[in-house]
Symmetry: C2
Subunit: 450 residues, 2 copies
């Protein structure tokens, strides 16, 4: 999900043969003979058995996390990740494996950020746990220093008097809404402070911005992610602080206000060309997606399936901070006259699969419901209307039918864009089940082409 730190997002495609002829219309309903159902059920059983007994998603993800690690676009880790996954794919006996050049923005975190808060009466400054937001400018070696002013959301900041904001550091303290069971909804409700906070704060004269980390948890890990300056005239540094620090700071601001005082913050962020070692391994976001995609194809081969369509795995560079890989790929695909029938993305982590989302019409989705009899035994309960993924989304203009894998989401934001997103946070069985679910859906979709 918006894998700024893990730009190797994935995409798995079934293609109709590469021609320029119009696509065959999608069938309203898969054939329903008993023989068909038995064949389907047997092959899908083989896929899941193979995945759970001898699946390779988990060792593949271990390699990706431990050998490449952090892999922001343009970094040494990203290059290593490309090399590793190219080697994996080359071993699968596919018709071809190739690399597609792509220009990416190259933002480098540099040395570890520092931040302190000076509170009147405290013997020493409070040390914040923070990360620069992806795409932010640095503070320079002199740092940024100023009084803190807190807002609960962008609307309040928008309405604030510029005189109050000018020369100060804006603290955007918008907590996750804990209520949505689909935890992505909480993310959607807060992401504006990360994307747009710096632009808006700068327009009011602020000299820096600190956001509360986007996570359900109350803990000490800052969560980063991309931001954008848009049409900002002045670019001010932007950081995320941990939720625990956000709670402390908010309470301190309230207490000090009663005393007529206002704490001051000092921020130091660095944009040197040095590798970052502080942020996680991008295990769930979205190393898991890479492993899912490669392994889905390997599983179909492992069970001896001969596809009717061409199947292609695409691992995208730069999913979050630009989606350049997806753009270049979609442009290339259109330019060579491909009609890609189906796109399936995994970008929501390596948790146990629960559903598939589909961008198709409700009529088409209804027609797919009988497939649940093949998927339900493995814990995939639903195919529902919903977004697919950032990368496959660029194929929408081609008329590609788009799907997304939807795993259990409760733990996603425990790890998202934080140092905790490491291989050890992934469960082997949950990861392998995701790969097998992807393979099973591809198989069912591919059968429609027969």
């Amino acid at each position: 999900m918006m894998g700024c730190l893990v730009p190797l997002a994935m995409l798995l495609l079934t293609l109709s043969p590469i021609t320029t002829k119009a696509q065959a219309p999608l069938k309203a309903q898969a054939p329903q003979t008993t023989q068909y159902q038995e064949d389907e059920a047997r092959l899908i059983r083989q896929i899941f058995d193979s995945a759970l007994v001898s699946g390779r998603s988990y060792p593949m993800l271990r390699d990706l996390c431990k050998k490449a690690g952090h892999r922001l676009s343009g970094s040494a880790g990203a290059a290593k990740a490309v090399e590793l996954m190219f080697a994996y794919l080359s071993e699968l006996g596919l018709d071809s494996v190739w690399l597609q050049p792509v220009q990416v923005p190259r933002w480098v975190r540099g040395e570890a950020e520092k931040g302190t808060v000076r509170v009147d009466g405290l013997a020493s400054d409070y040390r914040l746990r923070l990360l620069a937001l992806g795409g932010s400018v640095g503070t320079g070696s002199q740092g940024v220093h100023g009084e803190v002013i807190e807002f609960g959301n962008l609307e309040d900041l928008e309405q604030a008097d510029s005189l109050q904001v000018r020369g100060r550091v804006v603290f955007l303290n918008k907590p996750f809404d804990q209520r949505p069971v689909n935890s992505m909804a909480a993310y959607g409700g807060c992401i504006d402070i990360r994307f747009d906070g710096a632009r808006l704060a700068a327009s009011k004269g602020a000299i820096g911005v600190m956001i509360r980390s986007l996570t359900h948890r109350l803990d000490s890990f800052p969560h980063t992610g991309s931001m954008q300056y848009g049409d900002a005239k002045v670019r001010i540094p932007a950081v995320a602080i941990s939720t625990e620090d956000a709670e402390w700071l908010s309470q301190t601001l309230r207490t000090q206000k009663r005393l007529g005082k206002r704490p001051r913050v000092s921020l130091y962020t660095n944009c040197y060309e040095l590798p970052d070692t502080l942020v996680g391994e991008g295990a769930h976001d979205d190393g898991a997606g890479c492993a899912h995609a490669v392994e889905a194809i390997r599983l179909l081969k492992a069970v001896g399936y001969q596809p009717a369509s061409s199947l292609r795995v695409v691992l995208f560079m730069n999913e979050e901070n630009g989606a350049r890989g997806a753009k270049v790929y979609a442009d290339w695909s259109a330019s060579v006259g491909e009609k890609q029938k189906v796109g399936l993305e995994s970008d929501r982590g390596g948790f146990a699969p629960r559903e598939f989302s589909s961008e198709s019409s409700l009529e088409r989705i209804k027609a797919l419901q009988p497939w649940l009899r093949f998927l339900d035994p493995y814990g995939v309960y639903a195919i529902r209307k919903g977004g697919s993924g950032v990368d496959v989304g660029f194929l929408r203009p081609q008329g590609t039918e788009l799907f997304g894998l939807i795993p259990e989401s409760q733990r996603y934001f425990d790890y998202h864009h934080a140092a905790t997103d490491v291989f050890e946070s992934v469960n082997r069985r949950e990861l392998e089940l995701g790969s097998a679910s992807m393979a099973a859906l591809l198989y069912l979709l591919d059968q429609e082409s027969r």
Copy 2:
């Protein structure tokens, strides 16, 4: 699930008023008016919102794990757990809270077990990671020493010549079947080596038994659990070794056999009256069940629901090694002429809820399906035929309708009966969703009594 280490299993009951009159027949179908559906949906929304925003399952479980910790029947931890949960329940403003005396078997692990394998040619003995099985006799301070003989399952041991087994230590190396997506099925397929291995091995003249730990993972943590001697004439010590050690030992036995050699094992287990500090906190199994049960009732009160039936939380002592708490409770309930309408158990960990199991008729289960429209938005996808739980099972003779909470099961055996089953392995949101799901089902069932 079979919480030998965590004998505070739980049970949550809706009771019809305590009379001896015959139960009203179960309704085939809940009322389906639009108003009914809106009321249902709104109250269930309130339950889930309350659980996710300000639920108390998680802090309650932290207390249970960190203040009582390990709580095998008859231990100081068990007494502390009773005290803690009594205090929690007393704060809820229930009609009454009481303790029910129960006699329990008191098996004490004693000092940490030791085990080594002597292999010809190895400079030093290999140190096994092991735990005594619950209920096993100790080895005595002299230990048990003998050659190792491996069997892949009880059937092979059954057919073996006693001359081969006599005077040796039997190693039962039956790995989990990785294929079942419902991971409880893998447990069911292996539990015979733990329950029955010592009795059978002793009948062939073995002097000790070592089982491969019952888990999907290949790691260094031994997983214990109860065993029984049945009609065994001789009681021999039984231990579980980690899966990594089982793999090593099996391979070593094969290599040595080619050289005409047979490794010897030495086992030391102790049954002193000392608290055990080696085994986990019983967080998933089944501290989570206790928290689910208490919190479900608290949530119903928190949203202002006035139940039609009496609701009772029961936290059972001694779920695995005897189920004495459940027996005493069921006997008492029958003796005072209660007719308990519904029993709902949570004993499968604090993972995200997915389904409810029901022991009712298929007709009744079919009639309950419309409730899924209220549960599906929270990730509870199904109500299916299946076992409820060990403790509520004792109410079957009363005609009680039995349900079980079925959470995601992939990680259950990573922690089951091992030192890894600690509070930190539980996710707050997943735990609270379990409590809310229990509250929602209780609410729907209670509405049937109106």
